[in-house]
Every structure is written in structure tokens, then in C-alpha cells.
Amino acid sequence: MAAGGQPLLKVEHLTMRFGGLTAVADLSFEAAGTDITALIGPNGAGKTTVFNCITGFYKPTEGMVTLSHPDGQPFLLERMDDFRISHWAKVARTFQNIRLFAGMTVLENLMVAQHNTLMLASGFTIAGIFNNRGYKRANREAIDLCRYWLDKIGLLDRADDPAGELPYGGQRRLEIARAMCTKPLLLCLDEPAAGLNPRESEELNQLLLDIREEHQIALLLIEHDMSVVMGISDHIVVLDYGVKISDGPPAMVRNDPAVIRAYLGVEDEEEAEGVIAGGQP
């Protein structure tokens, strides 16, 4: 919990229904100022749905998602458009299936992420056409920020290559860097380690810890790779069939019988006791 009292992200009674299917049911959890929170659960547990609700891509059926900035200003995310959440509430995200601008260069990808800053500096394009000084300076600063992130993710040499030509791991890292270029307070990563080899996973852990240390932001991640989850998260929320079954520090969650049952399966008679009561497929 942050020193200020209010947690950065507060999800209360979040429910998302698609027709008759309840993807997320009455989920509540909190993420503090600089915590790394992992959202785990078996396939189809509703993790990405939670992400889409927090980042505004879905409008939740019920519930409240509040993001409190350090200055105390609250943002009710469930009421905001997706692009406003990124712009004003400062929540950035990546996607499970990488969504880079494949036909643009690595550098351009990072420049697009700074659209709102640059747009303002270019006087909403009108002053920019005449190369106003403010825009030139903002442009230089934007490129410096790109250079910083490219150095951080080890892609400085490939800055002028098309993003679509990067190897898979590079694309994953670039997507994280692109999200960070929006200068977020909360970074949501949807399976950042998917498809990475163990060495790349280890590098990713380091990158995420670095980001947290240097930029003092909170991370929310969905991950199946337990070496990432257990290695870096401060706090784990476990979902199964849209219902929260466990919530706590890694050591606690690791030994929670409900989690073990959800992941490893149980004998028939045990399941009859209603471990996953309330959820439905």
C-alpha cells in the first residue's frame, strides 16, 4: 500500500458479462503505488477481460475501477474512453498478440506513442507546419526519450529497421518500450513473457524491475510463466472462471490449496465440495 493511503488502482466488484457468459464475477483487488501485481489463472479465467476493463477496451457490466494519481486526483476508469485512459489517467498497456505498427520503423513506433505531447507542442499541427521552435524542441526531446528506451531494451542498433522485421523477443520488448513512452503510472502487460526463451524471460524480469525502480510506477501483469510471476511480483491475484480464488504475496499464493486445485486439478469428490462455486464456464 502506498504511503499516501489511497492505492493507485482499486478494482471494486468488477463484473463483465457477455450475453449469458460471466467472464469476470465480482472481482475486487488493489494495486499499490509501485507494486508489481500479477494476475494469474488457468486459460479462460478472465484475465485479459479484466485488463480490457481496466484499460477501457470493454465497458464493465458492473463495478468500479478507480485510479488515484499521486496528487490525489481520482479517475473513474470504467467511465472513460480507452484513449482517454491512456492520455489522462496514464495507464499504458501491451497486448497478448503483439500489436506493433509493423510497417513503421522501431523509432517511429516510439514516436507515435508520444503523439499527445508532440501534438500539443506542434500547436495541433498548425504551428508545426511552420516548424515552430517549441515543436522542434519537443521533437528533439521525444527522440531522446526514444533513444533512452531503445538503449534500455537493447534495440538502439535497430532503431531504423521496420518493427515487423524484429525477432519475436525484440517485438515484445519494443511493445513495452512503446507503452512506457506514454509515461504511464500504471503499466499493464498482457503475457509479456509468452514465447520467450528462459534467457529472454530472465532479461525481461530485469527490465521490468528496472522500470519499476527507475520510473516508480506500478505494474500489472498477466503471465503464465511462473519464473516471471514468482520472481518479480509483490502481489498475486489468482482468477479461476472469472472468480478471485486467491490474493496475496507470492509465498502465500504458492501454498494456497485453492490455487493448487485450480492449476493441478482435483479428485472428483473434492471438486464436489464447491471449490469453484459461483463461477461458470
Partner: protein, 466 residues
Amino acid sequence: MAGAPKSNQISAVAKTLDPAAMAKDLLFTAILSLVILGPIVGLKTVPATGSLALEQRWGTVLVLVGIVVVGRLIFHLIAARRPASRAKAAKPAGPGVDVGKYLAPILLIIALALPFIASLAPSQERRLVDLAILMMTYVMLGWGLNVVVGLAGLLDLGYVAFYAVGAYSYALLSTRYLPQWFGDGILPWAFFVTLPIAGMLAALWGLILGFPVLRLRGDYLAIVTLAFGEIIRIILTNWINFTGGPAGIDAIPRPWFFGHPFDDSANGFAALFGIESKPIQRIIYLYYIILALALVTNFVTMKLRRLPIGRAWEALREDEIACRSLGINTTNTKLTAFAIGAMFAGFAGSFFATRQGFISPESFNFMESATILAIVVLGGLGSQIGVVAAAIVIVGFFEVFREMNFLKEILPEGTDPVQFRMLAVGGAMVMIMRWRPRGLITRRDPTVYLKEKKAVPTELVAQGHG
């Protein structure tokens, strides 16, 4: 036609040159072409007394089927000789050479010097400059549409609507409203006063079209924009009190040279420079106006590409959802693309009105939209120099066919070679799309770079959501 269904199976058959399989294929080709050509060519309705009579032309059908079968046979024989691998077609073309870097300055010099080049051939001068004006108009329209289709990736089939808005804005303002409001003294300046107004009105209509189509993609977007183009044309045809209906608007003032008309009066352009007054002077002046307008279009578009708005357009073409996740207001981004594209069409429309001196809804039919879109697609989406090349090819093709009088000798009695121009343009398009599916110029230049400017191969560039 004979070589159209090049399935791998058939080419595999051809490679071994198995006579039985080939005969079977040829028989199939013959039956297929008979089925297709039979009703189309074999039966012809001719007017008879009081009704229609059927004329049967089976001889012609047999000749055509024979041509198809022979063509198919030739295709087989050629395919059999070719090396087995079809890797050549599958190989990505790579970024391609930077044609624009060398070609653009050369083209610019030619464009600037064109009236002087044309004056070397006095008998053809008028025709050449007229043709150049036509090409330049299409280049400008292509560049304008390139913003919407090439950069933002929004398929607009009704682009001609904005061209019409620009043309009618100029025509109505200059013939009716400006003289009414400011008296006839405004006329020498009418074109330059109206040009920005026409651009703004067209941009406004771009926004009006933009709003309802914001949520549409692909085919749906294409249909709605197509309908929009037709709506504008039909309104122009039917709102007779305002637009003059199908009769159009005539006596649209010609542009003056900064307050000097192009005639032999004492205040005229010729008198100003102390030269002999000739009609060609006005045409050359028109040519330089459209050249300037086109260059402004190009300059502004290239500039916008390097600004955040242009980058957002291209990002929108690549991935709309990712754009939204980065805080880009995609609604505004799409609307600005529509509005800016429309504005350039509005400028071109005003020019069209002043050049023709007469406009009617006839000039703004779907064929115009299709031609402009064809120029953008053939040139290579998003490529400015590609648009120039494609405009020269397509407009040139149309004009060349007007001149092919020798074709009249070969063709049967009563057929005009001009009628074949659409066929030829269609054929040329099929060829280009077969060998250069992503257009003539297939490279995308990055808008910003750290060390070295490397082109992005078009295979990676998205074509937008339709």
C-alpha cells in the same frame, strides 16, 4: 483469358507435358469458354420491325473459342519450358530503389519547363499544355486522396464529391454571390478569393462524411463513401434552383493575372508585358496555377507526414487498437484525414470550374472517383511519386487512344478506337496488379530516423482497414 486460372495443379500437369492430361485441360477450357461466350457473343438482339429479333452468330463464337484454346495451349507449352520453381513470384520484392530521389527533381524541372518545351511544337502546343493540365489535375487529386487512402488507410470511393463541392463553390460564388455582395469589382480576384472558401467548404463536407463513417471499416466504409459521392451528384442534378440542375452552370469567370485579364484590352496581360495577346497565354497561366496547387498539396502532405498527425494517420492504418492504447484520439485523427483530403479536392474542383468555364453534375460521376482511386492504388499506396507515374500512365492512356487513327483501318467498320480505351486501361491494370501487386512504387520512407534512413518494404506495411 486463356491463362487466367493458373492453379498449381494445372501448371504441374503442364510441366510434365502429359498429353492426355493436357488434352483434358484443353477440352475443359473449350467447354468453359463456350459456356461463357455462347450467350454473350452467340446471341445478339437486333431491332426488327416492331420488336426485337435474335441474331445468331455461332461462327464468331467458334472462332473465339478456338483463340482461347490455342492461347491455353501456348500457355501450357511455355509453362512446361519454365523452370519448375515458382519461387520468383513468391519472393518478396524488397524495399526497392529510391526512384523518387532522382526522378522527383527531373520531373519537377520538366513540369516547370513544360510550356516552353511545348512551344517548340507550335501546332501541338495547345494540345500538349491541355494534356499537361489534365494530368496535373489528376496528380493533385491523387495526392489529395493519398492522404485518406494511402496514409490513413480509409477506403474512400466517393472522393469526387469533394471535387464537386469545390467546383460548385467556385462556380456559384463567382457567378452569383460575389458579384451580388461586392459588385463586379471583385471579379478579377474572384478565383483567389474563392479558392480558400471552396477548400474550406469541401473540408467541411469531408467532416460531414467523416462523422457517420467513423465506426465503419472495409467494405462498409467503401459502400457508404460511394453512396455519399452519389448523393452529392444527385443533389446537384435535382436542386435546380440552386445549382442549375443538369444544365449546369456556365459563364464561370476565368482567372485573371493579378487583376489583368487575358485579352487584348489595354489592361490585359499581354499589354502589361508589352507582348502580343494569344489564347495560349491563358492556358499556360492555368497550367502554372494547377502546378502550384499540386506542389502545395505535395508539400503540405509531405510536411504533415512528418508531424505527429501524419504519424498518427499511418499508425491508424497499421493498427487502430494499438493507436487507442497509446492515447491517440482515433476519431479526430480520421476526421482530419477526411477533411484534409477533401480540402485538396476542393481546391482542384475550383480549378476545374475556372478552367472549363462550365460545369454540370455529369463531370462528377463515379468514374472520376474510380479513376482517382486507381491512380493512387496503381502508384502504390502512400507513394507521392507513384501517384505522378500512375496519373501519367492512366491519363496518357486515355488520350493516346483518341489519337490512334490507324486502328480504324484494322478494326471493323464503325468501331471507334476511343471505345477501346477502357478495355485497354483495364488490361493494363490487370497487368500491373499481377506483376506489381502493391503498386508501381513499393517502398515507404520512414518519417524520422536516428542514423540511417532505411526504406520499409511494402510487404510489412498494412493496407488499412479497407
